[in-house]
C-alpha cells in the first residue's frame, strides 16, 4: 500500500515527508526531480514514475506536488484518489492548500495524515469523521484551547466510523435548518475553424450544502431525469431507488459535499452558448499579422453570458501585438506569448471585438501553427443541458427546512481552433 508521502514545492524542495511503514530515504525523490526537469511544463510530469525499488505516483495541486511512494502492486488510481482526498482535506482544514498553510499547521497535518492512513491502508478519509477526531484550527479555538487547556483532538470514538452511514455524525444540531443545492454544468467543447462543433460534452455536478438537525432522509427528483444516463453518486445515494424510480434518495452528510456528478455526452445535443468570429492571419514575407476576433451569444435561452475571458497562446514568432478591444482589457505577455482578453459581459446589441495587428520577427518565416482560442464564461440561472430539479422532500425529521436550488453554466475546456 502507500508507503510514504513527500510534498515538493515549485522550486523542487521537499518540505514535508510522512512515512506509514519503514522510512524511505528522500533520495527516492531524485527520480521525480529528473522527470520534473525533463518536463517542459510543470503539469507535464508523468503521474507514475518507476524507480528501481519503488513507484512514485504524484499529483500537482496548488503548485505543490504530492508524491506518494509505493513498493508493491497497488492500483495507481487508488493512490491518486487518496492524494486528492489529502488535498481536499487540507483545503477544508486550512482554507487554502499552500506551502505556507501546511507549514504553519504542520502538527495538524501530521495528525491528519496519521489518521488518514494506517500502514498504508486508508483509515478515515471522510471529512466529517476527521473533524470529529481532529478539530480544524480556528482562531477562536486556538484561543479557547490556550485558556482552558483543552485539546484539538477528540476524545470520543467518531460516531460515523462504524455506522451504516459513515458520512454522517449523530447528534447534529442547527437552529436554522437549511439545504442548498447548486447545479453546476461545465461545457467542454472543441470548435473548428469554420465554427462547427467537433466535440461538445457537459460535465455536471450537484454540490450540496446541507445543515439539517438529526438524521434527515432526503429525496430529490428531477423534471427530466432521462438526461442523466452517466452518473457517479456520493456513497450516500441509494442506488437501487435511482435504478427503479430515478429519484435521488439519501441521508446527507453534514455540511458541504458533492451529491452527484454526471456527464452528458456529445450524442445528446449540447447547446453551444457563444460563437467566435476570428481572422488571424500571417502573410509570408511580411512582419505584420492581422488579428480580428468578435464574440457573440448563441443558444443562451435569453440569459446573459458573463465573466468572459479569452486567452490564446500566440505563435512563438509573434513579438508583440497592437490590439484594440471594444470593451474590457487585454494583455499580451511577450515572453510566454500568452494573450488574454478580459471581456466581461457580452452585450448582444454591441458585440465585443478585439482587432489590430501583430508584429512578427523580421525576416522570420510565417508561423506554422494556428493559435487555439480558449474561452471562459459563466451563465447564471441556467443549466445548459436543461436539467431541472422537480422537488426536494425531507422525511424522518419534523421541522421544516429552508430549501434552495441554484443553476449555473460555465465553460470548462472550451476551445476554438483557428
Amino acid at each position: 500500500m502507500i508507503h510514504s508521502l513527500f510534498l515538493v514545492n515549485a522550486s523542487g524542495d521537499i518540505f514535508l515527508e510522512k512515512h506509514w511503514k519503514s522510512v524511505v530515504s528522500r533520495s527516492v525523490c531524485d527520480y521525480f526531480f529528473e522527470a520534473q526537469e525533463r518536463a517542459t511544463e510543470p503539469e507535464n510530469v508523468p503521474p507514475v514514475i518507476p524507480t528501481p525499488h519503488h513507484y512514485l505516483i504524484s499529483v500537482l495541486r496548488h503548485r505543490i506536488y504530492f508524491v506518494a511512494v509505493i513498493q508493491s502492486e497497488v492500483p495507481p488510481l487508488f493512490v491518486i484518489e487518496f492524494l486528492h482526498r489529502v488535498v481536499d482535506t487540507f483545503q477544508d482544514y486550512f482554507g487554502v492548500c499552500t506551502e505556507a498553510a501546511i507549514k504553519d499547521n504542520v502538527v495538524v497535518v501530521y495528525e491528519l495524515l496519521e489518521e488518514m492512513l494506517d500502514n498504508g491502508f486508508p483509515l478515515a478519509t471522510e471529512s466529517n469523521i476527521l473533524k470529529e477526531l481532529i478539530k480544524p484550527p480556528t482562531i477562536l479555538r486556538t484561543m479557547v484551547n490556550t485558556i482552558t487547556g483543552s485539546t484539538n483532538v477528540g476524545e470520543q470514538l467518531p460516531t460515523g466510523q462504524l455506522s451504516v452511514v459513515p458520512w454522517r455524525r449523530t447528534g447534529v444540531k442547527y437552529t436554522n435548518n437549511e439545504a442548498y443545492f447548486d447545479v453546476v454544468e461545465e461545457i467542454d467543447a472543441i470548435i473548428d475553424k469554420s465554427g462547427s462543433t467537433i466535440t461538445a460534452e457537459i460535465q455536471g455536478v450537484i454540490d450540496a450544502c446541507v445543515k439539517l438537525t438529526g438524521m434527515p432522509d432526503l429525496t430529490l427528483s428531477f423534471m427530466n431525469p432521462r438526461l442523466l444516463d452517466d452518473v457517479s453518486f456520493h456513497p450516500c445515494v441509494r442506488f437501487k431507488r435511482w435504478e427503479a424510480e430515478r429519484i435521488l434518495s439519501f441521508i446527507p452528510p453534514d455540511g458541504n459535499f458533492r451529491l452527484l456528478s454526471y456527464h452528458v455526452s456529445s450524442q445528446n445535443l449540447v447547446a453551444i452558448p457563444v460563437y467566435v468570429k476570428h481572422n488571424i492571419t500571417f502573410r509570408e514575407g511580411s512582419s505584420q499579422g492581422r488579428f480580428d476576433l468578435t464574440l457573440g451569444p448563441k443558444q443562451t435561452m435569453g440569459k446573459a453570458v458573463e465573466s468572459v475571458l479569452v486567452s490564446s497562446q500566440l505563435p512563438r514568432g509573434v513579438l508583440n501585438t497592437n490590439l484594440n478591444p471594444s470593451q474590457g482589457t487585454y494583455t499580451f505577455d511577450p515572453v510566454t506569448k500568452l494573450l488574454t482578453w478580459d471581456v466581461g459581459k457580452i452585450n448582444p446589441q454591441k458585440l465585443p471585438s478585439l482587432k489590430g495587428s501583430m508584429s512578427l520577427q523580421a525576416g522570420a518565416s510565417k508561423p506554422d501553427e494556428n493559435p487555439t482560442i480558449n474561452i471562459q464564461f459563466k451563465i447564471q440561472q441556467m443549466a445548459i443541458s436543461g436539467l431541472k430539479v422537480n422537488r426536494l422532500d425531507m422525511y424522518g425529521e419534523k421541522y421544516k427546512p429552508f430549501k434552495g436550488i441554484k443553476y449555473m453554466t460555465k465553460a470548462g475546456k472550451f476551445q476554438v481552433r483557428t
Binding site: 500500500m1 521537499i14 518540505f15 514535508l16 515527508e17 511503514k21 519503514s22 503539469e43 507535464n44 508523468p46 503521474p47 507514475v48 525499488h53 499529483v59 513498493q71 508493491s72 502492486e73 497497488v74 492500483p75 495507481p76 488510481l77 487508488f78 491518486i80 484518489e81 486528492h84 504542520v106 502538527v107 501530521y110 496519521e114 494506517d118 500502514n119 491502508f121 478519509t125 471522510e126 485539546t151 483532538v153 477528540g154 476524545e155 470520543q156 462504524l162 459513515p166 472543441i190 473548428d192 467537433i198 466535440t199 452517466d230 452518473v231 457517479s232 453518486f233 456520493h234 456513497p235 437501487k240 456528478s261 456527464h263 455526452s265 456529445s266 450524442q267 497562446q313 506554422d368 475546456k413
Partner: protein, 867 residues
C-alpha cells in the same frame, strides 16, 4: 563556519526542548512535543530527545498521547532499547475502556518495527482481533499485516492468519474490508499460499459487505473478487449484477476495479445472452466519465482503456470523440489519447479522425506532432479505404518542410508502401526532394529502404545511395544495414551500372566495420552474390510478407493477463505483474532456474561453433586487400595450400567472378553449361587478361547453337485452368525457336490457341501463328514449335532476358513470363579477325573498363585452350 553556527543553534534548540518536555505543566509539555514533531516533519533529527518524549507518554490527554506515538513510530527503530520502555504503556492501553485508545495502542505498536516490541504485541493483538468493538477489530486486522511484514513466521506460528480469515465473515462490513485488504497484502508476498481461498459462501459475504463498506474497502473487495473464478455462467452473471452499481461510484478507483471484475467475468457469459449486451452497454459511460477527471486519473484510465479497446473494441466504438485531444491536455494524456484514437479508427469514423490528426500535426509540441504524423500512417494501414486520403495528407505535411514532420512522414510512408505495393509510388519523387533534410536515423533508413526497393523506378537511385555512402561510418547501425541492403537490391536490379557501388559497400561493411551484425550481413550478401546470383535475387528481392494492420498490439496471452490486472501498475505499464519490483519475487525466482539451465546448455555449443568461425577472420580480412578472392577461396574450396590445384570452376576466377561471371549467369539465367567445359575455340593468343575476358563473355557464344536447355514448366496447370505449358528456347539452323509442350489437364476440350509477346529487350516476336492441333482433348500432350524473329517492338526488361507471354485459348487468356538464354540470339558467323576485334575493343570508352587481378589461378592460357 556556517555549518558550525547551525549546529550550535540546533544544539541550543534541543536543549531548550528538553527542558520544556520535562516541565510540570501539561500545556507546556504538549507544546514542546508539538515542536519536536514539527522539527521531525521537516526532516530534522530530534532523536536525542527520545527518553524525554517517551516520558510524556503516560498521560490522559489523548492528543499528547497521539503525538508521542507519532514520535515513537519515527524513532523507535533507531533507539530499540529505549523503545522497550514504552511497552508497558502500550500493553496497558490495549486494556483501556475507551475503544479509541485500545485501537490506537495496537495500531501504534504494529508500526514500531523493533523485534523486542513485537514479541509483546502478540497477546494484545490476539485480544484486539476478538474485541467487542468493531473499530478495534478492524484496526487489529491491519495490524496483522504489519506484523507479518516484520516477522512473517511469528504471524503464522501464532495462528493470526486463521483469525484473519475468520474476520472475512465478520458482521461489520468495515472489518471484512480490512481483513480482505490485510490478507491480500500478505498473499502478495506468498504468491502460492491459499490465503484468500474463495468459495461461493465467502463471495456472498464479500458482495454483501461491498455495498456497505467505505470506498477504499470496496476497492479491496473488488480486487479480491477479481481473483475468483465462478463455477458457471450463472454465478458469473449474478456476481456481475451485484458489482455493476459500483460503476456509478464517485471514486474512480472503485469504478476501475469494478470494470476489472466485469471484464473478467464477462468472459464466461455466453455472447447471445441479453445480459451480455446490457453489460457491454453499461461499461462505456463510466469509462468515458473517467476521461473528464483530473489529468493524472485520465492517464491511468487511458492506459487501461487501451487494453480494454484491444480486448473488446465494441465497448467504445461509438465514443471516438471523447478521445479528441484538447490543446492544453498534458502531453502524457495527449499521447495516450492518440493511441486509442488509432485503435478505434474504422471506416465509419476515419474522415473525422484524419481531420483531427491533421490538426494535431500543426501543433507546437514536437513529440505530439511526431506521433500524430505517425498516426496518420497507421490509419492508412489500418483502414484501406482511407489510404489514399492519408497519403495525400502526408504529402501536404511534407510540403510544410517542417523538419521533424517530414522525417516522420517518410518513416510512415515506407510502411504504407509495404502495405499497398505498387499503388503510391508516384510520390517517391516528392520524397526524394527532401533527402537532404533527413538527419534522424529512422528517417534516413526509411528513405534508403524506399530508394532500394524502388531502385528500378528511380533514375538516379545509384547517385542517391552513393551520396549516403560517403558518410557511411558516421551513420547509425540502422542506416548502415539499410544502406547495405538497398545497394545490394539496386545491384540486383541494375547490375551493369552499380558494380563499383556494391563492391564499395560490401567492403565498407565487412572490412571497416566493428559491428558484427553489419559484417555478417555484408558477408552473407557477398557470398550469395558470388555463389548464386539467381538465388541472391530470390532472397534479397523476395516478396515481403504483408505487415499487420495494427502495430504494437499486445500479444494475446499478455493481454488476457493484463485484463485480469486492470487498474494496477501492470496495466499502466502494459507489463505482466511478474515484472514488478517487490512482492512478486517468488514468481520470478521460480522461473529463473529454468532459464539459467538452458542458458548454460546453450553456451557450450556456442563456443564450439564460434571455434569454427574464429578461424575465419584472419583469412577473411587479409592485409593485401584482395578480399574477394580470398573470401571465395575460403568458402568454396579447401585452403589453396592443400594438394593439387582444385578443379576448374568459375569460383576460381576470384574477384572477376562476382562482377563478370556472376553477372553473366545473372543475365543468362538458364544457361547451365559451366565454363569449365568451354572449348577454347577462341584460342587467339591475346594477352592473359583478355583471354579471361573472352572466356567469360565471348566464349559462350559459339557452342551454344547446339545447346538446348531442358524444358521447364512456365505455366502450371493450377494457374491456367488446366493448361500446362513447359518449354525452352533453342537456336536451330539460325532460327530462334520456342519449343513448348502443351498439356491439357482440364476436363474439357481446348481450342482456338493464340500467342502474343509483350515488348521485350531484343524485340523477340512470334514469326508465325501458334499452331495447335485441335481438338486438344483432356490429358493430351502436344509438342509445338514456334519460330521467332527479332523484329518486334523493343523495351528494356528486368532482367534483360525476361519475356512476358500471353497465351489464349477458348477458356481464357493466361500470362506467364520466362527467361531465354542470351546465347540463342548470337549469330553463328560472329567470328572476328583479331585486328577487327581489337579495334572494336578500343572503341569502347575507357571508363567502361574495369580491371581485376586473378590470383592463384592454376590455369594458363595453354591449359584453357587445350581443354
Amino acid at each position: 563556519i556556517h555549518n558550525l553556527k547551525y549546529f550550535k543553534r540546533t544544539c541550543g534548540e534541543i536543549f531548550e526542548l528538553k527542558a520544556e518536555l520535562n516541565s510540570d505543566k501539561k500545556e507546556k509539555k504538549k507544546e514542546a512535543v508539538k515542536k519536536v514533531i514539527a522539527s521531525m516533519t521537516v526532516g530534522k533529527d530530534v532523536s536525542a530527545l527520545f527518553p524525554d518524549v517517551v516520558n510524556c507518554m503516560q498521560t490522559d490527554n489523548l492528543e499528547l498521547k497521539k503525538l508521542v506515538y507519532l514520535y515513537l513510530m519515527n524513532y523507535a527503530k533507531s533507539q530499540p532499547d529505549m523503545a522497550i520502555m514504552a511497552v508497558n504503556t502500550f500493553v496497558k492501553d490495549c486494556e483501556d475502556p475507551n475503544p479509541l485508545i485500545r485501537a490506537l495502542a495496537v495500531r501504534t505498536m504494529g508500526c514500531i518495527r523493533v523485534d523486542k516490541i513485537t514479541e509483546y504485541l502478540c497477546e494484545p493483538l490476539r485480544k484486539c482481533l476478538k474485541d467487542e468493538d468493531p473499530y478495534v477489530r478492524k484496526t487489529a486486522a491491519v495490524c496483522v499485516a504489519k506484523l507479518h511484514d516484520i516477522n512473517a513466521q511469528l504471524v503464522e506460528d501464532q495462528g493470526f492468519l486463521d483469525t484473519l480469515k475468520d474476520l472475512i465473515s465478520d458482521s461489520n462490513p468495515m472489518v471484512v474490508a480490512n481483513a480482505v485488504a490485510a490478507l491480500s497484502e500478505i498473499a502478495e508476498s506468498h504468491p502460492n499460499s491459499n490465503l484468500l481461498d474463495l468459495n461461493p459462501q465467502s463471495i456472498n459475504k464479500l458482495l454483501t459487505a461491498l455495498n456497505e463498506c467505505t470506498e477504499w474497502g470496496q476497492i479491496f473487495i473488488l480486487d479480491c473478487l477479481a481473483n475468483y473464478t465462478p463455477r458457471d455462467d450463472r454465478e458469473s452473471q449474478s456476481i456481475c449484477e451485484r458489482v455493476t452499481p459500483r460503476l456509478s461510484h464517485a471514486n474512480s478507483a472503485v469504478v476501475l476495479s469494478a470494470v476489472k471484475v466485469l471484464m473478467k467475468f464477462m468472459e464466461m457469459l455466453p455472447k447471445d445472452l441479453d445480459y451480455y449486451g446490457t453489460l457491454l452497454k453499461k461499461l462505456a459511460p463510466p469509462l468515458v466519465t473517467l476521461l473528464s477527471a483530473e489529468p493524472e486519473l485520465q492517464y491511468v484510465a487511458l492506459r487501461n482503456i487501451n487494453l480494454i479497446v484491444q480486448k473488446r473494441p465494441e465497448i467504445l466504438k461509438h465514443e471516438m470523440k471523447v478521445f479528441f485531444v484538447k490543446y492544453n491536455d498534458p502531453i502524457y494524456v495527449k499521447l495516450e489519447k492518440l493511441d486509442i484514437m488509432i485503435r478505434l479508427a474504422s471506416q465509419a469514423n476515419i474522415a473525422q479522425v484524419l481531420a483531427e490528426l491533421k490538426e494535431y500535426a500543426t501543433e507546437v509540441d514536437v513529440d505530439f506532432v511526431r506521433k500524430a504524423v505517425r498516426a496518420i500512417g497507421r490509419c492508412a494501414i489500418k483502414v484501406e479505404q482511407s489510404a489514399e486520403r492519408c497519403v495525400s495528407t502526408l504529402l501536404d505535411l511534407i510540403q510544410t518542410k517542417v523538419n521533424y514532420v517530414v522525417q516522420e512522414a517518410i518513416v510512415v510512408i515506407k510502411d504504407i508502401f509495404r502495405k499497398y505495393p505498387n499503388k503510391y509510388e508516384s510520390v517517391i519523387a516528392t520524397l526524394c526532394e527532401n533527402l537532404d533534410s533527413l538527419d534522424e536515423p529512422e528517417a534516413r533508413a526509411a528513405m534508403i529502404w524506399i530508394v532500394g526497393e524502388y531502385a528500378e523506378r528511380i533514375d538516379n537511385a545509384d547517385e542517391l545511395l552513393e551520396s549516403f555512402l560517403e558518410g557511411f561510418h558516421d551513420e547509425s547501425t540502422q542506416v548502415q544495414l539499410q544502406l547495405l541492403t538497398a545497394i545490394v537490391k539496386l545491384f540486383l536490379k541494375k547490375p551493369t551500372e552499380t558494380q563499383e557501388l556494391v563492391q564499395q559497400v560490401l567492403s565498407l561493411a565487412t572490412q571497416d566495420s566493428d559491428n558484427p551484425d553489419l559484417r555478417d550481413r555484408g558477408y552473407i550478401y557477398w557470398r550469395l552474390l558470388s555463389t548464386d546470383p539467381v538465388a541472391a535475387k530470390e532472397v534479397v528481392l523476395a516478396e515481403k510478407p504483408l505487415i499487420s494492420e495494427e502495430t504494437d498490439l499486445i500479444e494475446p496471452t499478455l493481454l488476457e493477463e493484463l485484463i485480469c490486472h486492470i487498474g494496477t501498475l501492470a496495466s499502466v505499464y502494459h507489463k505482466p505483474p511478474s515484472a514488478f519490483v517487490e512482492g512478486s519475487r517468488g514468481v520470478q525466482h521460480k522461473r529463473l532456474p529454468a532459464r539459467a539451465g538452458s542458458g548454460e546448455s546453450a553456451e557450450s555449443p556456442d563456443t564450439v561453433s564460434t571455434g569454427g568461425v574464429s578461424e575465419a577472420p584472419p583469412a577473411v580480412i587479409p592485409s593485401q586487400g584482395d578480399l574477394l578472392g580470398d573470401l571465395l577461396n575460403l568458402d568454396l574450396t579447401p585452403p589453396t595450400t592443400t594438394g593439387p590445384p582444385p578443379p576448374t570452376s568459375s569460383m576460381q576466377m576470384g574477384a572477376m567472378d562476382l562482377l563478370g561471371g556472376g553477372l553473366d549467369s545473372l543475365m543468362g539465367a538458364s544457361f547451365g553449361a559451366p565454363p569449365a567445359v568451354m572449348p577454347g575455340s577462341f584460342n587467339a593468343p591475346v594477352s592473359g587478361g583478355l583471354s579471361d575476358l573472352f572466356d567469360l563473355g565471348g566464349g559462350v557464344g559459339m557452342p551454344m547453337g547446339a545447346y538446348v536447355p531442358p524444358k521447364t514448366v512456365w505455366l502450371p496447370a493450377m494457374k491456367a485452368k488446366g493448361l500446362e505449358i513447359s518449354g525452352t528456347f533453342a537456336r536451330r539452323s539460325g532460327v530462334v525457336q520456342m519449343e513448348m509442350t502443351l498439356t491439357n489437364k482440364a476436363m474439357s476440350v481446348m481450342g482456338d490457341f493464340a500467342i502474343q509477346f509483350n515488348r521485350n529487350s531484343f524485340g523477340l516476336a512470334p514469326a508465325g501463328p501458334l499452331q495447335v492441333l485441335t481438338p486438344f482433348t483432356p490429358n493430351q500432350s502436344i509438342e509445338v514449335t514456334l519460330p521467332l524473329n527479332t523484329v518486334g517492338p523493343v523495351m528494356k526488361m528486368e532482367p534483360l532476358n525476361n519475356l512476358q507471354v500471353a497465351v489464349k485459348n477458348n477458356i481464357d487468356v493466361f500470362y506467364f513470363s520466362c527467361q531465354y538464354p542470351i546465347s540463342m540470339l548470337f549469330v553463328e558467323d560472329g567470328k572476328m579477325e583479331r585486328q577487327v576485334f581489337l579495334a572494336t575493343w578500343k572503341d569502347i570508352p575507357n571508363d567502361n573498363e574495369s580491371q581485376f587481378q586473378i590470383k592463384d589461378c592454376h590455369l594458363n592460357s595453354v591449359v584453357v585452350s587445350t581443354t
